[in-house]
Amino acid sequence: MVQYLLMKIFRALVTVTLIVSAAFVVLRLSGDPAIIILGPEAPPEAFEAFRRNWGLDQPIWVQYFKYFVAVAQGDLGNSMRDGRSALVVVGERIPLTLAITLPALFIKLAIGLPAGVVAALYRNTWVDRLIMMLSVAGFTVPSFVLGLVLAMIFAVWLGWLPSGGSDTWAHAVLPTVTMGLVGAAVIARFTRSAMLEVLGQPYIRTASAKGLLWRNVVRSHALPNAAIPTLTIIGFLVGSLVAGAVVVESVFSWPGVGRLLVNAVANRDLAVVQVILLLVGLTMVGANLAVDILYGIVDPRLRIKRLQAGS
């Protein structure tokens, strides 16, 4: 088990290294930050000074090596825009993003899981069709469209909620609901197919033949098994808590990490983009690791394999 965990952590580190490198490559290839920050009309000496300041005049592999060492030491550089530590710049946005993504995650699970289970239990009835129709609508409509529609209805027509900004809790409602509904649609669909798969298994028939009432068959035999594949998608959602709100934050002018990312990319603020990419990568990798460990707890078949692999 310990060996298995170490293996998983090692793999996670490799993934993180790849993310760090990809961030470097993509950002260096995508344009000269000196021109974007200083403007094309700045004097050549200013460009040179800027490049020397940020180490951009050195060979690319030296830059890469220095960058890597710095990242490893936790020094993620300063924002090229306002000179503050990029970590601080990003860090102060995280609570704002979590303020909408955490409640949205709750909505996703609270609506998506029961809807998927009910759709599977009432397969091919009008209940199932209605839930699946809403679900298909939910994940085919892009979240910015849904966001705009909700803003039009509740902000423009009804005037109940503000259409953008972050001054009060009321400002958080529309972005939260938008993300929650889209995510709920995805979860509902996934849960339904996981549940249908389980309901067709022979052990469900055994549980019925044993004399259990259907509701108990569902509760103690179907749901625990359906939870296993559903964990994967929940892990993915948890992993995207920090960065999953880019579009919605832009639509509702919510000053979270997502909007910071959009601005930083537009401004070639390399340090900030790097921090966000690393943050996203780490949360994804962390969530995946957590899912792997949970699998072992929920599914005894994996637990044994691990023991065999690990001991």
Partner: protein, 341 residues
Amino acid sequence: METLLSIEDLAIDFDQGKRFVRALHGVSLTVARGEVLGVVGESGCGKSITWLAALGLLGSRARISGSVQLNGQEIAGAPENDLAGLRGGRIAMIFQDPSSSLNPVHRIGRQIVEALKLHRGMTGASADAEAARLLDRVGIANATRRLREYPHEMSGGMNQRIMIAMALAGEPDLLIADEPTTALDATIQAQILDLLTELRRDSGMALVLISHDLGVVADMSDRVAVMYGGRVIEEADTGSLFDSPAHPYTKGLIAALPDIDGPRRRLESIPGTVPAPDRLPPGCSFAPRCAIASKICDARMPAFLPYGESQSHFAACVKCRDEKPAESARLSGNKHVLVPA
């Protein structure tokens, strides 16, 4: 013998979305107390669904008509709660693939205790002790330790023993064993069948043994029902069925069995395959594969009538009565004696 379960004119239609397809065409069978009834036939002939339907386990896509009586009480169409009380209690069932018939995420012990709690109200330490006793009873060593293990840690044969232990938990009057050894190795098959015989002798419960393997059924059953195309086409005491099979299908099944003693011979096979439930021929459903079929067989499904001198041998075949047993005809001097009015 006192009748335990009687199925009368049971028919099943499956909802295929646009239409209903009839999978079972009025099956009538009885099981006496303590009796072993063998049910044979190829895959898809309605063996399993007959008993699943009797217990109300076919789900909402199946429309069921006919009567199922347990000790004279009608249970077909009974409320779900009543049926649930019978399942596992009065009538238990074991299945073909034991390893996937046990829930992979629960320990063996929990799955057996669940049945004990349902049917005998046992909980806690007494339930655990009884579960261990049951495992011991079905020949699993280290019962207490095994209770804490999961199905995937056991072999198929072990899992079938666990399924049997779970079925015994409710002290049933009738055990329905649906192809209990099909997924197992030959040596394990024999062990499981021996176990079933032994348990039945001790407890006196009746057994319905569903199998496509006539050999398995021959060894264990008092009586055999042969099914084809959603109907019972022959039924007789085991001895009578093997000594003088009436229906060409039964003869074909017997001819396909190897002899243990006697000369080695080429095993015969029945040409063709079982027709799909929605493509049954208008007359006898076996006629397209039958060597002795003639025009009369295509006219209508033959009636299920007594055959030979035995009072308990029935067959649904028009031709078998003409062809039959030269020696009986010779003895009686008139073969029409064989066909009752």
